[in-house]
Amino acid sequence: MRALTVALLAWSSAFAWASTDLVGQIAAQARQTPVLRADFVQTKTMMALKRPLISTGRMVLSSEQGVVWLLETPVRVGYVLSDQRVVEIDVQGVPRVRQASDVPGLAQISRTFQAMIGGNLDALRDQFDISASGTPARWEMLLRPRQRQTAAFLESLRLAGGRHVERITIVEANGDTTTLQMKNVNTETALLRDEAVLFQAPPTPR
């Protein structure tokens, strides 16, 4: 839930810089990426679940427009997250729009998120203490929330990767863990047309 949003932030904020040079270098790598595509495998371990929950899907990250998150198995739901709105596409394919002005937290999340992409890393650093180890080719980062409110549900974020982020581990305060494994990561310069369409304002309100 909330944790995963933060994960998304963290994922692109893998390029957030801390006081170490390493993070700065990782950040520099990221700035050269206008569009990023990847498949993911998400593994959730929750106390209420008998066994870990596995889902797969793909995502597209555009530094200008936002992110498209498409879950494929075991259920098809989609999310399009941009500066002004969030579109939730449910299992029947019906889109549901929420404007940023209606939802207090939304713009904040998008913004911080895109600030990462744009190279404005101060916002993330405001929210997390970041420590990194390794080299720009092979690194790991640990992010701990600074704000009490965030720390109430999120314990930490761990990122690992090289040229791009490859693994994100979210540890929630209640012990639930989510791991995202990125595969087939591609960088592009432009969105595909049907991806760009997803960012357009949907035709009808609910």
Binding site: M1, R2, M47, L49, L53, V91, P104, R111, Q149, A152
Partner: protein, 790 residues
């Protein structure tokens, strides 16, 4: 010339005057020294209750008082960071001033857990209407909802845990809660907006004390200049907009006080100069000042005692009363001048006394009519004038005889001769051409009458500082925050029925939103469903999720959820039966604070709440949508006030006719009917021509104009009466009348320069009306028997 020792009766009278003056002075001084004697700057106090339903009036007051202590500051800069830093500087500067109880440049990062903690126990009572219907008709798939909850990568609205709400039913209801803040967005903990050229950040301030006191207003204004200075130093190219009732009140008060003192100073200087010019002695000047001062002091004391407040409009008007209050004293001095060596104080009183009383009674009649006006603003002016003029006249009877014992030395012979000759010539001209003149007046006036229009805008009663209004509009555009003054009042016998009525209203409002007639709305029932709705939702849970035949356990098991979750659900459902969600619990939550004024609660008729439309574009559609819902009415204070003013204006027209008739009746008590009509003629012509001039100038006929016409009548008839009654030489009486009319014209003429539209119209009416009346006065005194010469 021997002067007899002052008779005891004169001394006693003068002492009585002194006593009254001290009493009045004390009555004014005590509240003034306690800081209570302050002009009333709350514009709503200028109006009487406008709503027929007292609950509606109460609702208006509640909503108004909630926002009256608030001020908004919007700071704009080229970039978001600069704006944020400027906002922080502004907030810091403001907090340094004790006049602000709280200043917010950041919003609490919305803590969803507070919301969840409040609603968690009642999660089985919370469900959207669509979801409940889907459960009832079987179209909801619990398995799919569970999958969606398990796999959703992120959520921006507060969500309950899997254990609490595996099917996301309460989650969906929570996500629907209206949380928006108009056109502002939350960014990095601040409320921001953007336009073409700038990033804006909002800073909100809440005053520690009432915005209607002078102290608070001055301190708020001082803090604003401090902020501007600070901003200039750190962010020279940032822009600052501000708005808030306290700033409007401060500007109105400052303007009114300035006008009152400027007009008052000019009126007093002009009046005293004219008096000196005529009487060539300082004694009349000094005594006139005493009479004036006494009049105004008594007026303030009486108004304060009777009404407990003094409006700004009364303050400015009071300054113009100076010229009129001095009329009575001037008549006395004129008689003194004319009597020469044969003067005695008592004799003087005998000469002018009856004239003064007739003149006073006509003025009291006219101002008394104003006192009866339905608008507190205008009625207070009437009370003020009645008290002030009575007191000024009383001074003539009490104080002046003791102080004006010696006969006059100044021989006004030359002036008198000039005046008398001038009057005679003017009288001849008027007499010869009287029918032509009357005809001309009518001819000029009639076309003007045809072009007259009414205007019942509430804004007449106050001066709207244009700079503030412009900033206010800009702020409204950027933030979407602003008072439209309209809301829906929902009334029902019990609190639950009010909630249920709101829930019945909601789908209609949603439909209006889809049609574009409305942007959004806020209602209490969105946060606290009625008990009936809560019960329906709980029943849906019981029958379609928790009942034995629904395969709850199988669905959970298939998804890999622990079986104990089913037990937790049943247990939680049972526990929720104890204590349904109540409005009183919600009212105590800190995050509910902005919406608290919407819940009016218990009223004499039952219970009531307010549903607030936001961004209303089509009022007629809203009225039509609630038409058939008993207990729901649209309250529109500005429109009601406009209607009230229209009714008052129409009533005033009748008053005018009635006042004319009463005045005529009053005059026939003393004079023959023909003479009474003649005395009234100049005033009537004055009124007619004034209306004509208004028509020609395109000035609207408003309530103040009509009330002023009553004054033209009442005051305008004084001068023919003075001339007619004046014993002693016609000449000195005439000079006295000339000075009186000149001072009155000066005072009323000065009102034309007021920035309050109502006073401007008042002044214009009186100026034109009085000028015509005075010029035509000789028409009313044709055939006056001469009563001796100088």
């Amino acid at each position: 010339m021997t002067v007899r020792p002052t008779p005891l009766s004169l001394i006693v009278r003068a002492l009585v005057w002194l006593l009254l003056a001290s009493a009045a002075a004390t009555a004014v001084f005590i509240p003034w020294s306690q800081g209570r004697l302050e002009p009333q700057t709350d514009l709503l106090a200028l109006l009487p209750p406008t709503e027929r339903d007292p609950v509606a009036e109460l609702a208006v007051e509640r909503l108004a008082s909630q926002s009256s202590g608030r001020a908004l500051f919007l700071v704009g800069a080229g970039s978001g960071e600069a704006a944020a830093s400027a906002a922080a500087d502004i907030a810091r500067a403001l907090r340094g001033h004790g006049v602000w109880a709280s200043v917010h440049d950041t919003v609490d990062e919305f803590d969803p857990r507070r919301l969840l903690d409040f609603y968690a126990n009642q999660r089985f009572a919370l469900m959207t209407t669509q979801d409940r219907r889907a459960l009832e008709d079987g179209s909801a798939s619990l398995a799919q909802r569970l999958q969606a909850k398990l796999h959703t990568p992120f959520s921006w609205s507060p969500r309950l845990t899997l254990d609490q709400d595996p099917f996301g039913l309460a989650d969906a209801w929570l996500a629907d809660l209206p949380q928006g803040a108009g056109r502002l967005q939350v960014r990095d903990g601040r409320l921001v907006a953007e336009d073409a050229s700038r990033h804006w950040v909002l800073v909100q301030g809440q005053l520690a004390a009432s915005p209607w006191t002078t102290d608070t207003q001055e301190q708020a204004a001082a803090s604003l200049s401090d902020v501007r200075r600070a901003l200039q130093a750190t962010h020279p190219d940032a822009a600052l907009l501000h708005t808030g009732p306290v700033f409007y009140a401060e500007a109105s008060r400052r303007t009114a006080e300035q006008e009152a003192s400027q007009l008052g100073a000019v009126a007093m200087a002009g009046t005293l100069l004219m008096i000196y010019g005529l009487f060539r002695s300082l004694r009349p000047v000094a005594l006139s000042m005493l009479c004036m001062g006494f009049g105004i002091l008594v007026a303030v004391a009486v108004t304060w005692q009777v009404q407990g407040q003094i409006h700004l409009i009364t303050l400015v008007f009071g300054a113009s009363l100076i010229g009129e209050s001095v009329d009575y004293a001037v008549q006395y001095f004129a008689a003194h001048l004319g009597a020469g060596p044969r003067w005695t104080p008592e004799g003087g009183l005998r000469m002018v006394g009856s004239g003064l009383l007739v003149a006073l009674s006509t003025s009291l009649l006219a101002y008394g009519a104003l006192w009866m006006a339905p608008l507190p603003a205008l009625s207070q002016i009437g009370l003020f004038a009645v008290a002030g003029l009575s007191a000024a006249c009383l001074s003539v009877f009490l104080l002046l005889p003791a102080c004006v014992r010696r006969p006059a030395h100044h021989d006004p012979a030359r002036m008198i001769v000039v005046a008398e000759r001038g009057l005679q010539r003017w009288q001849q001209i008027l007499h010869r051409w009287r029918f032509a003149i009357i005809g001309l007046c009518l001819a000029v006036a009639l076309p003007g009458w045809l072009r007259l229009e009414g205007n019942d805008d509430l804004r007449q009663l106050a001066s709207m500082p244009t700079g503030l209004v412009a900033q206010d509009q800009q702020i409204q555009q950027l933030t979407g925050m602003g008072n439209s003054g309209q809301f829906l009042l929902v009334q029902a016998p019990s609190a639950q029925e009010v909630l249920a009525l709101e829930e019945a209203l909601a789908p209609r409002l949603v439909q209006l939103q889809q049609q574009g007639a409305l942007v959004a709305h806020q209602r209490v029932s969105a946060f606290v469903p009625s008990r009936a709705a809560q019960q329906r939702n709980r029943d849906a849970w019981a029958q379609h999720v928790l009942a034995p035949g629904t395969a709850l356990e199988r669905v959970l098991d298939d998804a890999g959820v622990q079986p104990v979750v089913a037990d937790h659900l049943r247990h939680g459902w049972r526990r929720g039966a104890d204590h349904p969600l109540e409005v009183d619990d919600w009212l105590q939550q800190p995050w509910a604070a902005p919406l608290k004024p919407l819940w009016i609660g218990a009223t004499p008729n039952g219970h009531a709440s307010v549903v607030l439309p936001i961004g209303l574009k089509d009022k007629a559609a809203l009225v039509a949508a609630v038409d058939d819902l008993p207990g729901v009415q649209l309250v529109d204070k500005p429109a009601s006030a406009g209607r009230l003013l229209t009714e008052a204006r129409q009533g005033a027209t009748l008053w005018l006719a009635a006042a004319t008739a009463i005045l005529l009746a009053l005059l026939t008590l003393r004079y023959r009917p023909a003479r009474a009509i003649a005395l009234l003629t100049p005033a009537l012509l004055g009124m007619g021509l004034t209306l004509g001039v208004f028509g020609w100038l395109g000035e609207p006929v408003t309530l103040p104009v009509l009330m002023a016409l009553i004054l033209v009548l009442g005051v305008g008839v004084n001068y023919p009466i003075f001339l007619w009654e004046g014993s002693g030489s016609l000449g000195t009486t005439l000079l006295g009348v000339l000075v009186s009319s000149a001072t009155t014209l000066l005072s009323f003429g000065l009102l034309v320069f007021s920035s309050m539209p109502a006073l401007h119209q008042f002044g214009l009416t009186l100026l034109v009306g009085s000028t015509v009346t005075i010029a035509l006065t000789p028409l009313g005194v044709q055939g006056r028997p001469s009563k001796g010469t100088a």
